[in-house]
């Protein structure tokens, strides 16, 4: 923590010097909201009996989503994998619609049809939430392609894990993104594990994972994710490159997850030792570090931090209340949102049999 506070360089980056006090506090607010949301979701998963499936918590990685997405302009778009509640909240989705989705309720962001791995908010430029490891990587390139095709100044930030980099479709996407000069930024959230497999046991590389981009003639950079200033400074360079030169970038952000891969990860204390987790919680926690930084800069007080945390917790609790009291989807809803033309009752949607239930 001390070494970090000593490095002034990234705090001095133009994009960070522009930050107002309120914006700096908002970065903390967003991280606290994500942390409180995830912890509340975990508790509900274990006690409510209303959630099913997987729940991949973002806890420990908050500075990545909050730092990068704080830079998004009106026409910048985001797509992510399944550990993406943080991205969803940082893109402006409400805790209510997210929690209700986890509860499988009709008021969920995806009407209870997507679940934890599949949050979407296209109106907020958030394109999911994707459950297949690296399946989102060509989609991110497609969003960037569409922006370029339509002559819009924007880019796509496409998140993936350190395990996802070994999927062929990601490598294929780097090639095409570079070949066609698309404004996409691949952000590898390197939390050092893919399920129970450590980075060393899953990837062959020289230097770092992002450096593989060299082979595709792509710019890349590596970021210490615990420092929001660094995350913002380096991501901003990539965004500028996308906006002004329509060139892609690969960023690798080092980070750490505190909990198991999903809630049910019986081996979470076997493939890594508890001291390692403790070390990260104690010395590398992005929230703690940012709080210390803001205190040192004199832009916030301890009591203000406490208030923000209380507010985040209250918001999460209210979201549970909202989710609990929301209606379930109707059985008939199983058949809506399958075909656009059917939902919209267009002539095409009324022609021929679309469903084969009996």
């Amino acid at each position: 923590m001390e070494t970090l506070l000593k490095t002034k360089t990234f705090a001095d980056a133009e994009i960070n010097r522009q930050l107002t006090t309120e914006e700096k506090i908002d970065l903390l607010r967003q991280m606290l909201r994500i942390r409180r949301f995830e912890l509340t979701a975990l508790k509900q998963y274990q006690t409510s009996g209303q959630m099913g499936g997987f729940l991949h918590l973002y806890t420990g990685q908050e500075s990545v989503a909050v730092g990068t997405l704080s830079l998004c302009g009106d026409d910048d778009h985001v797509i992510a994998g399944y550990r993406s509640h943080g991205n969803a909240l940082a893109m402006g989705m409400s805790m209510n619609e997210c929690m209700a989705e986890l509860f499988g309720k009709a008021t969920g962001c995806s009407k209870g049809k997507g679940g934890s791995m599949h949050f979407f908010a296209p109106d907020k430029n958030y394109w999911g939430g994707h459950g297949i490891v690296a399946g989102q990587t060509p989609l991110g390139m497609g969003l960037a392609f569409a922006l370029k095709y339509q002559g819009r100044k924007g880019c796509c930030l496409c998140f993936l894990g350190d395990g996802a980099v070994n999927q062929g479709v990601y490598q294929a996407s780097l090639n095409l993104a570079s070949l066609w000069s698309l404004p996409v930024i691949y952000i590898i959230e390197n939390n050092q594990y893919s399920m129970g497999t450590s980075l060393e046991r899953s990837s062959a590389f020289k230097n770092c994972l992002a450096a593989r981009a060299e082979g595709y003639n792509l710019e890349w950079d590596r970021i210490n994710g615990e420092d929001i200033y660094e995350v913002r400074a380096k991501t901003w360079t990539a965004i500028q490159r996308a906006h002004n030169e329509s060139r892609p970038t690969v960023l690798e952000i080092n980070t750490y997850r505190y909990y198991g891969h999903s809630v049910s990860d019986a081996n979470t204390k076997k493939y890594r030792n508890p001291e390692e987790i403790e070390k990260y919680r104690k010395f590398h926690d992005p929230l703690q570090l940012w709080q210390s930084r803001l205190l040192a800069e004199g832009v916030i007080t301890e009591s203000q931090i406490g208030e923000l945390d209380v507010a985040a917790q209250a918001e999460a609790v209210a979201a549970v209340q909202f989710a609990e009291t929301s209606p379930l989807p109707e059985p008939a809803d199983i058949f809506s949102d399958v075909y656009y033309e059917v939902d919209e009752q267009t002539p095409a949607g009324r022609t021929g049999k679309h469903f084969f239930n009996e």
Binding site: P122, P138, G140, V169, Y340
Partner: protein
């Protein structure tokens, strides 16, 4: 009426839709400067330029996924697969992303893409290049699958596919690209989900899609000429959505059905239709519903034998004579 090839009919459909809608673009391997591996996109790059017709590297998963992503922001990609057999490389993008994104987003996203290319055996290219994945893909709710058998249908269906707001997979046939049919000059559309009775009859219904329709029509001629049997040939044209009514009407009239299908028999399109007929027209049937499918093994290379592996006129006639 002018006569043009199936290939030209597709080419005209693509050109008309490119001209009509700025958001339509074509991507795939060799579609632009090379004019298409099977020349379906011939001349389109010269006419519409780099922005609208794009050559991709050999990277099906990446360019199909790119198309899906681009469609989410309002573009309407027409993605060529040099062979539908290569779809398996991009299966995740096709089924999980194109097929499920609308559902998983609770209807907040839709995916107006077309994926097209040939899906047929019979050309001596071996098992890896001879798949007919219409049954596999039609198994995924959220996608649409069409299999035009004639130039007229190919053009009208392709135009509807491009205008459709759901993912539509168009399965063409390399053996048909050079065949000629009458196609009017005036614009027309053929809706998805409407079958076509290609030849009327009263004694038996031959129900088929794609090139099997043409095989069935030849069988119908022989049945009429040599056996005095008056067969009706129903062309499904669209697999999903499916025109069940036209199938049932035909069966209720003829009381007999033989399903002809270039799929392998297990879980094929014809298996679905056989199930549907027995469920909905059992009392109208005077005989079991029989099928003529591709013989159940990977597609053999040996050109002489491969012809026998696909449904043949002889096998259709034989099957019909089993029940009539």
């Amino acid at each position: 009426m002018p006569k043009i090839t199936y290939r030209k009919a597709l080419n005209d459909a693509l050109a008309e839709e490119l001209a009509r809608d700025e958001n339509v673009f074509i991507i795939g391997e060799e579609v632009a400067q090379y004019n298409g591996a099977y020349k379906v996109t011939e001349g389109l790059w010269a006419r519409f330029g780099d922005k609208r017709v794009l050559d991709t590297p050999i990277t099906e998963a990446a360019f199909v996924g790119l198309g899906v992503g681009a469609s989410m922001l309002g573009l309407r990609p027409v993605i060529e697969l040099m062979f539908w057999s290569f779809a398996y490389v991009a299966y995740d993008q096709i089924v999980n992303n194109a097929g499920c994104i609308r559902y998983m987003s609770g209807g907040r996203i839709h995916c107006p893409i077309v994926i097209r290319g040939p899906a047929n055996g019979g050309t001596g290219v071996g098992a890896t290049h001879s798949h007919t994945p219409e049954s596999i893909l039609a198994n995924s709710p959220g996608v649409k699958v069409i299999c035009p058998a004639t130039a007229y249908d190919a053009k009208g269906l392709m135009k509807s596919a491009i205008r459709d707001n759901d993912p539509v997979f168009v399965m063409e046939n390399t053996l048909l690209y050079g065949e000629i049919w009458e196609v009017p000059d005036e614009e027309y559309l053929i809706p998805l989900g409407v079958a076509d009775v290609k030849c009327e009859g009263v004694d038996i219904s031959l129900i088929a899609h794609g090139r099997a329709v043409l095989t069935s029509l030849k069988a119908a001629e022989i049945l009429a000429g040599e056996h005095g049997i008056n067969a009706e040939v129903v062309d499904l044209r669209s697999i999903r959505p499916l025109d069940e009514e036209t199938i049932l009407q035909s069966v209720r009239k003829t009381h007999h059905a033989v399903l002809v299908d270039e799929n392998k028999p297990f879980c094929s399109v014809s298996a679905q239709i056989a199930s549907m007929i027995q469920e909905k027209a059992f009392d109208d049937l005077d005989a079991p519903v029989l099928r003529v499918c591709s013989l159940d093994a990977p597609a053999i290379y040996s050109p002489a034998l491969e012809k026998l592996q696909l449904p043949t006129v002889e096998r259709i006639v034989e099957k019909v004579l089993e029940i009539l």
